[in-house]
């Protein structure tokens, strides 16, 4: 029995089994590697970001995984919010000609005279950073661009990072996945 040669079909079946085992191992290994890689995630450093607009166009996702995020601890609750309003505008009401956001993703709510709360409709935000630039020009820089990790698919090489002219995107620990500037300009 021991010396009986294997049939061609048996050899083929063994080969297929071996391939299956190798494929399974490969998949498991890839998953493990990906799991390890998820310990670090991509994020935008607001102190380096220049709001060039590439976040809206370079991401592999459409719309981009980059969104405007509001740091309430920094916000001045300005009545004349320059994240919301254009600096050159016809008036101070919420009509299209006065607003900065191209997708109408910024909402404001009256708090008390003269303070307003700003919120971002993330479903509408395309990560263009126009509001962020406006807030930084005239306000407290409480609006900041961040990669939202409920959307980011964690590319091995972030396509926005590759295009970012100021190298503002870097890997950060997944346990602290956001780099929001807070009160006093520090994180």
């Amino acid at each position: 029995m021991a010396d009986e040669p294997k049939s061609r079909r048996a050899v083929l079946a063994d080969g297929v089994r071996l391939l299956g085992l190798a494929a399974t191992s490969g998949v498991l290994g890839a998953l493990a590697a990906k799991s390890g890689a998820r310990n670090m995630v991509w994020q935008i450093d607001p102190d380096l970001c220049t709001q060039c607009g590439k976040c809206a166009t370079s991401c592999v996702l459409t719309p981009s995984a980059v969104k405007c995020v509001h740091s309430y601890a920094l916000c001045g609750y300005c009545q004349l919010c320059f994240g919301l309003f254009r600096d050159k505008r016809a008036g101070n009401d919420l009509h299209a000609e006065n607003l900065r956001c191209p997708t109408d993703a910024i909402r404001r709510r009256f708090v008390e005279d003269p303070y307003y709360e700003i919120t971002i409709e993330e479903a509408l935000c395309i990560g263009c950073g126009i509001c962020v630039k406006g807030c930084g020009l005239f306000g407290n820089r409480s609006l900041q661009l961040q990669i939202r990790h409920d959307r980011c698919i964690g590319c091995n090489e972030c396509s926005i990072a590759r295009d970012c002219p100021s190298n503002a995107i870097r890997r950060v620990p997944a346990s602290r996945p956001y780099l929001l500037r807070q009160r006093g300009g520090t994180r």
Partner: protein
């Protein structure tokens, strides 16, 4: 028709459909680039032209129309792309399955005896086909699942994206969309793991330490219809509530020796005539220096503190004639305190025990004077760590002066104190350190049954002390914001609260921490920022920062009525059967307490008023921005 042919035709239909969808997706992609909001240069040019020429109505209309078109088309293309991808995934999966089934059912012509090579080739072909079908089906399922499971629901994107701004202040037009609903009816901001804090509603500046945004939202301040939803706790029966009485200073019951009257409760024993029914200006004299503190009236003299950045004084006027009796300079001895414009350099109301008068200033200098204007002693408690400047007013208990010195932003730093001083010497009688942050409120003195209570409020506590020893009697935790309104009381309850926090109705009969047992109800609606509440005839009157006066039922905090009377800093006073108010614009309004807002009379003083009036006998003393008024018959 055989099943095989049927499957073949089905496969063909699926293939054509998939190709069509693919083509439509490509066309959609090309089209969507024409409506990229980031590439809407024409819109940008129109905006610039309109900014240069804001009165061009035609251009404005064009711009709004174009803006709406661009955004609608952009959203439409995004929706089509996502739905098309999902449809393509489904079609591809079905195509793979149909192909596999058709190949299985394909009629075959067998040769008599296939050799081993042919069998092997057929086996390989079947294995490859099975793997292909399996991979395609799995891929399709994964694409569908991933599409449906994305946290970017395009449906809501389209539905929500075209809505007008959901929450906006009254009077603000809303985008290029229909008018916004009133404040308070908009949805709360979405829970956001990135949110660093909720908007500070406290005080007049947003410096409140943030808490989680997942907590209930504090009310918006506009005077529109808002739900009145006080949280009512299981309360003891009325008979179980203690009887509360004011601690009136001996011999000064008919005077006005401190902020909000002899009881500090905004209830006056005076009976002046109503506006329009005999009330007129008896005299009006210029006040030499500014100050937002309220006048006190003691033994025929109206006393005021006043200061600017160069000098400060205490002055006395004859209550009968308005004649300036004396002015005592209180020189600055150190660097000027940092104060806001609303606080000024003399925000704290003086107090008197009938023999002496006391004044405190934002740099922490406390002065004891006799009623002739001579300085008896001074104590310096400053400088204070206070963002707007120290503003708590003084009160007297017997011959002691009580000073609330709350400061700092972190209660655990224990920088705050409550001090009782001997009025004759200025030396400490007792002092308690308080684990609270800065407060601008004035303490309240009352008698609950057999014991006297000194109630002081500062985040995070409403705390009652024994006014003789300073020993803490009870505390309620949970106060937030930046308290400037004073506590108040009626026959059975103590009320304490401020904007950015809650208003607590407290049963003051307990001891220790009575947060869970002593709070009868609380509400976050209609909270005052500056103005102290008035508890009068089973109602609590709250005047919010937007000028809305709300009347709540004292038993449960439910709303009786609200009325916008205009911006007001002076606290209301119950005088006889009426409630007297003075708005910032100098309009003296007298209201009838009851189930509806009803004015009994009004009078224009013609000057900005922020100080609370004093009521003595048949006269009313009002401090305006520049003058002291005496109103009477």
């Amino acid at each position: 028709m055989s099943a095989y042919r049927l499957l073949c035709r089905f496969r063909l239909v699926l293939a054509i459909s998939s190709a069509l969808v693919l083509g439509l997706l490509a066309w959609n992609l090309v089209q969507s680039r024409s409506y990229d909001p980031l590439e809407a240069t024409r819109l940008e040019q129109m905006q610039l032209r309109l900014a240069a020429n804001p009165k061009d109505d035609a251009l404005r209309d064009q711009l709004r129309t174009l803006d709406r078109q661009v955004r609608e088309r952009y959203l439409h293309h995004r929706r089509v792309a996502l739905q098309g991808l999902a449809l393509l995934a489904v079609l591809a999966s079905l195509l793979a399955l149909a192909h596999a089934a058709a190949e299985t059912l394909r009629p075959r012509s067998y040769s008599a005896e296939p050799d081993a090579t042919e069998i092997l080739a057929q086996t390989r072909a079947k294995a490859a086909q099975g793997a292909y079908v399996l991979a395609t089906a799995l891929g399709g399922i994964l694409v569908v699942l991933a599409t449906l499971g994305r946290n970017d629901p395009l449906g809501s994107y389209v539905r929500e994206g075209m809505k007008p701004h959901a929450t906006e202040a009254p009077g603000q037009a809303s985008g290029s969309a229909p008018p916004a609903p009133p404040v308070g009816q908009g949805s709360l901001p979405p829970a956001d793991p990135l949110a660093l804090g909720k908007p500070p509603l406290a005080g007049s500046l947003p410096a409140t330490p943030p808490t989680t945004r997942l907590e209930p939202e504090a009310p918006a301040g506009a005077g529109t219809q808002r739900p009145s939803s006080p949280a009512v706790r299981p309360a003891p029966s009325k008979s179980a509530l203690p009887d509360l009485e004011p601690c009136l200073p001996a011999g000064l019951e008919a005077d006005w020796p401190r902020f909000r009257g002899p009881a500090g409760n905004g209830v006056a024993a005076a009976r002046p005539p109503l506006p329009g029914k005999g009330l007129k200006v008896l005299w009006k004299v210029a006040v030499p220096l500014p100050g937002w503190n309220s006048p006190i009236v003691v033994k025929g003299s109206v006393l005021l503190a006043m200061a600017d950045s160069t000098r400060r004084e205490v002055a006395a006027f004859d209550a009968r004639t308005g004649e300036l009796l004396w002015r005592t300079p209180i020189p600055y001895q150190g660097p000027l305190p940092k104060v806001s414009q609303d606080t000024g350099y003399a925000p704290s109301t003086m107090a008197s025990d009938g023999e002496r008068a006391y004044a405190i200033f934002p740099d922490g200098l406390l002065v004891g004077l006799d009623l002739g204007g001579s300085v008896l002693w001074t104590r310096s408690f400053g400088p204070f760590e206070n963002p707007y400047g120290h503003a708590s007013s003084l009160l007297c208990h017997g011959k002691n002066v009580i000073v609330q010195l709350d400061q700092g932003s972190d209660p655990e730093e224990r920088k705050s104190r409550l001090v009782a001083l001997d009025g004759a010497t200025g030396k400490n009688v007792w002092q308690v350190d308080r684990a609270v942050s800065a407060s601008w409120a004035t303490p309240l003195l009352l008698r609950a049954g057999t014991r006297e209570l000194l109630v002081a409020m500062a985040p995070p506590l409403v705390c009652a002390y024994d006014p003789d020893t300073g020993k803490e009697v009870w505390r309620v935790e949970g106060l937030g914001g930046e308290p400037a309104p004073c506590p108040a009381f009626d026959e059975h309850r103590v009320y304490a609260g401020n904007l950015g926090s809650y208003l607590f109705a407290i049963n003051p009969s307990g001891e220790g921490d009575i947060t869970r047992t002593g709070v009868l109800w609380d509400t976050s609606d209609y909270l005052p920022d500056i103005v102290s509440p008035l508890a009068f005839r089973e109602s609590v009157y709250l005047l919010g920062p937007d000028g809305t006066l709300a009347c709540l039922r004292a038993k449960d905090g439910s709303l009786v009525w609200e009325h916008r009377i205009g911006l007001t800093k002076a606290s209301p006073t119950a005088v006889g059967d009426a409630i007297w108010l003075v708005t910032d614009a100098g309009r003296l309004v007298v209201l009838q307490p009851g189930d509806a807002y009803r004015e009994l009379g009004a009078m224009e003083l013609g000057e900005v008023v922020r100080a609370s009036p004093a009521f003595v006998g048949d006269r009313v003393y009002v401090r305006g921005q520049d003058h002291l008024f005496c109103l009477g018959p």
